[in-house]
Amino acid sequence: MTTRTINVDYIARIEGESALNLQIKNGQVTSAQLRIFEAPRLFEALLRGRDYTEAPDITARICGICPVAYQMSAVHAMESALGIKVTGQLRELRRLLYCGEWIESHALHIVMLHAPDFLGFPDGIQMAAAHADMVTGGLAIKKAGNHLLRLLGGREIHPVNVKVGGFYRLPTIREFAPVAEELKTARDLAVKLLHWVATFTFPDFQRDYEFVALRHDSEYPINEGRIVSSRGLNIAVADFDTQFEERHVSHSTSLQAVIKQRGSYLVGPMARYNLNFDRLPAEIQTLAHAAGLGATCRNPFQSIIIRALELVYACDEALRIIAAYEPPEQAAVPLTPHAGIGHAATEAPRGILYHRYEIAADGSILHANIVPPTSQNQLCIEEDLCDVANASLALPDEGLRDLLEQTIRNYDPCISCSCHFLKLSVQRE
C-alpha cells in the first residue's frame, strides 16, 4: 500500500487560521479535512442579555471585511422581530452601503488574494511589480468602496452609523458628489479587471453543486429575498431552520451547515449569479458573455470572473442609488421593543448570512443564532478538495499543495467569521 500525505500547516491569503490535511491511499483521496483552528468566537452567547439595538454593532465586530453584512442581517432580523419594514430611501441607502462592502471586499480578493494563484505569484505584493496597472486599479476600486463605507457608515471598518430602523445620520446630496466621481472611475477600472481575469487559464473542473442564494422579485439579491436553490428549494428566510442545520465536526472550530437530508451546498458569488442571472441588467449580462460566462457557471475557479462582474454591477448600482437619492424626512423609523422572534438573511460578499434573534418584551436578546457563509461552504470546500486532488494526483506534492490552496481561495473563505478556519496536510499511502 502506498501512502501520500500532503499538509498545508497554515493557508495563506485567506482571512483567519486554518490548515488542510489530505490523505491519499493507493491512488485515491480518502479524506480531505479543512482544519479550522481559529478560536471559537462565542458571539451568540455574549449577545444574550444585551439590548436588541446593540446587535448590529456587536455582530459587526465578527469581521473587519464584511461588517456591513453583519449589521444588515442584524437590523433586518430585529425589524422582523418587531414587525416593521424599512422602505424607500432608507432601504436604498442600506443597499448602497452594502454595495460599498461588495466593492472593497471583491476588489481586495480579486487583486491581492486570488489573482496571484492564476499568474504564479506567491502574493499580491510580488504580483504588483509585473501587473502594476491592475494592482493599482484594484486598489483604487477598493478605495472607492471604502469611501462609500466612510460616508454612510461613519468609518471604513466597523461602521458606526447603522441602527435598527435606519441610520443615526443621513448623508447630504452634496456629500455624494466626490464619491460618485470616484465610483465612475472605479466602474471603468472594474471592467478592465473583468477583462483581465477573463484571460486567466482555469483548471478544467466542475461539480454538480446545489447552489443556494437569495432571490428577489426584481433585484439582483443583496439585502433581501427568498432563499432558493438550484434543486428546487424556495423558502421564506424564516424557514431557514426547517431546511438547514449546522453540525459540529471534530477537526474544526467552525460548524458545518448542510441542507437536511441532502448535504453540502454552495453559497456566494457563483450561487448568486447562477440563480439570479436574469436579475442582472442587460449590460452586465453582455459583459458576462464577453468574459466567457454562460448563464450558469459550475467551475469554482471561475468565481474570480463572477466577483469582477459583481464589482462592475455594484459600482453601477451604487451610482444609480446616488443619482436618485433624496434625503428622507427621518434618519430612522422609531421603534418600541416588544417580545418577538426575527429572522433575516442578506448576501454578504461570500454568500448568505443568516441571523435569528429571540427578544424579550423589554428588548433584551434571549437567544441569537448566526450562520455565516464560510460555515455553509465548508463541506463544499472539502468535497472540492477531494475531487480536485483525485483529478490531479500525478502532480508532485508542491504543485498539488498550490492547487489545493487555490481551490480553497475560490471561496474567499473568512475563517474568523466561521468560528465560530488553513495548514495543508496531505497523506499519501
Binding site: R13, I14, I125, A132, V135, K143
Partner: protein, 153 residues
Amino acid sequence: MNPHVLVIGLGNPDRGDDALGREAARRLAENPQPGIKIIQRDGGGLGLLDDWNGYNTVLLLDAAAPCGQPGHIHRINLSEQKLPPGFSSNSTHGLGIAEAVQMATALGRLPPQLIIYAVEGKSFDFGAPLTPKVAAAMPELLSRLHEELAQHS
C-alpha cells in the same frame, strides 16, 4: 505653500503603548509649521500609499514590539537601510507597514525619503495608558522629530 513633508502617527489610541505614534503626532500638531502636514492613522496598510502620495519626505511614527528596552527609539531611514524583520503584519486582511513599503516599492510609489521612528513598547493592553518608560521617551522623541523636521523644511 503646499506641504512637502508628511508626518504620520500610527497606532491604536486605546491599546497602551500603541498610542505612542499618534500621541507624538498630536503633540507635534500643537505647533503647526508651514510645509509640514501631520496626520494620524489607526495602523499601517495600503491606505498609506494614498496618504504619502506626492510628498518628498514622510516620517512614520509607530510603537514597536518589545525587544528588551521599553522606550528605546529606533530611527530607520528606508533610503539608507532596509526594514528589519518583525514589521510584518500577522493579519491576512489587514496589512502592516512592511507590506505597505513592499507594495509601494513594487508600484513605484515609495516617497523619496521615508523615515520610520519606532519606539519600543512594553504593554499593549486594552484601555491602558502609556507605560512609564515609554511615556518618559516622549520628550526625546519630540526633540529628535523637531531636529529631523528642521532639516527637511
